[in-house]
């Protein structure tokens, strides 16, 4: 179901968490709310879920005004960063919770719980308690619990934030596949641009309670609407007073038209990617992202004088 947020504002004392925010989330899409902490992304998610009341503005779910509805009646599944597992219940009871509230029959509940535990790869863990699961397993349980009641909207608040890097990567890919399978409108909050780019179809960049830009991952990277977005969604480097992506700069060993002279300070090998740090003639420093092949081909060395050339149009901000 679609979600429409209309001019929502929310303050906590003097702190403006959301400042007249409007947003459209298409039915069945997978959207990321991306931004630094304190940017308002979690507040926006909680307003959509009904866990926070906006000071002004409206929230529509599937075209219906849900602003005055309590969370119980919004039909949203919510997943918390720290899992919010019902620690006194088994995994099966956790997943069954929403269905038992809805007074579904015992057999129907059992069948649905089985199905969901398979979906999140937790079959065989039904009778464990949350304390006996790893963080990644707990979060998958929380997802199954949220999906059990077939919500119209799935909301995830930094769902992988408390997990270690490997599990995080795994779960990202898995969330993406899960979304393709269940096709429920999904919004998740993250402060990690790579996570947003990898998982989402649409990214909403929030900062200081305002939406800075809404677009596809590629849009945001290639056509950022301002310097904040540009810096937030990818690496930046400066050349002749212009902001550029550091992989859009070529290194030449001979000067040609429109090149600037620079000296290599440091070459950092990051596997396939190589980071070359340089000092420009005017004393400014910059860096260029290139490949191992290129460095070997040009036989680059620290201390060497090279010439830099812009190889793509600088991103217009």
């Amino acid at each position: 179901m679609s979600i429409v947020v209309e001019s929502v504002s929310k303050r906590f004392g003097d702190f403006v968490a959301l400042n007249d925010v409007s947003l459209n989330v298409r039915d069945g899409s997978l959207t990321a709310l991306l931004g630094p902490s304190g940017g308002g992304k979690s507040t926006l998610l909680r307003v959509i879920a009904g866990l926070e009341q906006p000071d002004s503005g409206r929230v529509l779910i599937a075209g219906e005004d849900a602003t005055a509805k309590p969370p119980q009646r919004r039909d949203v599944g919510f997943v918390f960063q720290h899992y919010a597992a019902f620690k006194h219940m088994t995994v099966a009871k956790n997943v069954a919770f929403g269905l038992s509230i809805r007074k579904r029959g015992k057999e129907e509940i059992e069948a649905r719980v089985d199905e969901l535990l398979k979906l999140v790869h937790l079959d065989g863990f039904a009778h464990r308690y949350p304390s006996q699961l790893s963080g990644g397993q707990r979060q998958r349980m929380a997802l199954a619990r949220a999906l059990a009641v077939q919500p119209r909207v799935l909301l995830l608040d930094e769902p992988f934030g408390a997990l270690d890097a490997t599990v995080r990567k795994e779960l990202r890919a898995w969330l993406r596949r899960l979304h393709d399978e269940v096709q429920v409108t999904t919004v998740f909050v993250t402060h990690d641009q790579e996570e947003a780019m990898e998982v989402a179809e649409q990214i909403v960049v929030l900062n200081h309670g305002d939406i800075e830009q809404v677009g596809t991952p590629r849009d945001l990277y290639e056509k950022p609407s301002n310097e904040f977005v540009m810096r937030f969604v990818g690496p930046v480097s400066e050349l002749s007073g212009r902001w550029i992506r550091p992989h859009d700069v070529g290194i030449l060993v001979e000067p040609t038209d429109g090149t600037s002279e620079a000296q290599i300070d440091r070459i950092v090998h990051l596997g396939f990617e190589v980071r070359v740090e340089l000092s420009l003639g005017d004393g400014d420093s910059t860096w260029v992202q290139t490949t191992r092949t290129m460095v070997e081909e040009l036989e680059l060395a620290e201390g060497q004088i090279v010439w830099l050339r812009l190889e793509a149009e600088p991103v217009s901000v």
């Binding site: 969370p71 918390f80 919010a84 019902f86 620690k87």
Partner: protein
């Protein structure tokens, strides 16, 4: 070298702990036990089965049971209000909870007698009735459940409740199915301590209950009267019964409390 030192350190610690426990508690308890059977088991049995002894034990146990049930409910409620509500004077109320711990129990008894006695300013006279036993015990055991539940409630993950709400649970269901099960171990632990305290309470009962045999004489007061009338064996025998009751109750409550926490292992 350091290992040997470590072991002797452990042994030393254990030795000091056990010696201390023995001097302060175990040896005196054993002395009571010995005294109670000084005249043989028959004497012990006849001492605890005199009509007056049985009546006093019954009064104590029934009153303690009522008090624990009431304070389990209201203690939890007070803890809830103190943790979840904001109101002016909350800190003062929070400190007042400990007053029954700090107050000499005889003062508690006197206070209750002044307010709920023959000269009650509100016209409620409970003095020398069985209700006065319950009243005094309610007062002195008030802090146990409150103080046991409060920290658990503070630590309780609020997001668990929000998750339940987003899954469709109303306030009452959230309390019954999410909050209460997580508080149960603490409620049981607090109730166990309150019960043990109620069974042994003396000071607050002495003034307000009037100590009428078969009517308002609690077991602890009965023991005191036996000591005064020079019957140390009878006093020790009933003491041992109280001791056993308290021990068994603590063990049972401990077992329940642990069972309710088994999911955390």
């Amino acid at each position: 070298m350091s290992r040997a030192f470590g072991i002797s350190g452990d042994v030393l610690g254990r030795g000091v702990a056990m010696t201390y426990l023995s001097i302060v508690a175990l040896i005196p308890l054993a002395a009571v036990l010995l005294e109670s059977v000084d005249g043989g088991l028959d004497t012990f049995w006849s001492a605890v089965t005199t009509e007056q002894a049985v009546a006093s034990l019954k009064i104590t146990l029934i009153a303690s049971l009522i008090v624990v049930l009431v304070n389990a409910v209201f203690g939890t409620l007070i803890a809830w209000v103190l943790v979840r509500d904001e109101f002016p004077g909350k800190n003062i109320v929070n400190s007042l909870i400990d007053l029954p711990f700090a107050l000499p129990t005889i003062v508690a008894g006197l206070t209750l007698l002044l307010f709920y006695g023959p000269d009650s300013p509100v016209g409620i006279n409970l003095a020398f009735t069985r209700a006065s036993i319950v009243l005094a015990l309610l007062f002195v055991t008030l802090p146990f459940v409150v103080r046991a539940v409060q920290p658990v409630l503070l630590e309780l993950d609020r997001e668990m409740e929000q998750a339940a709400e987003s899954l469709g649970a109303g306030k009452a269901t959230v309390f019954r199915r999410i909050v209460l099960p997580n508080l149960t171990p603490a409620i049981i632990a607090g109730a166990g301590l309150a019960f043990a305290r109620a069974v042994g309470e003396f000071g607050s009962l002495v003034l307000i209950t009037g100590n009428i045999p078969f009517k308002t004489q609690a077991a602890s007061v009965f023991i005191f009267s036996q000591v005064e009338s020079d019957n140390p064996i009878g006093a020790a025998a009933v003491s041992v019964v109280l001791l056993l009751v308290a021990l068994v109750v603590l063990l049972i409550f401990g077992w329940f409390s642990k069972r309710a926490l088994r999911h955390e292992e």
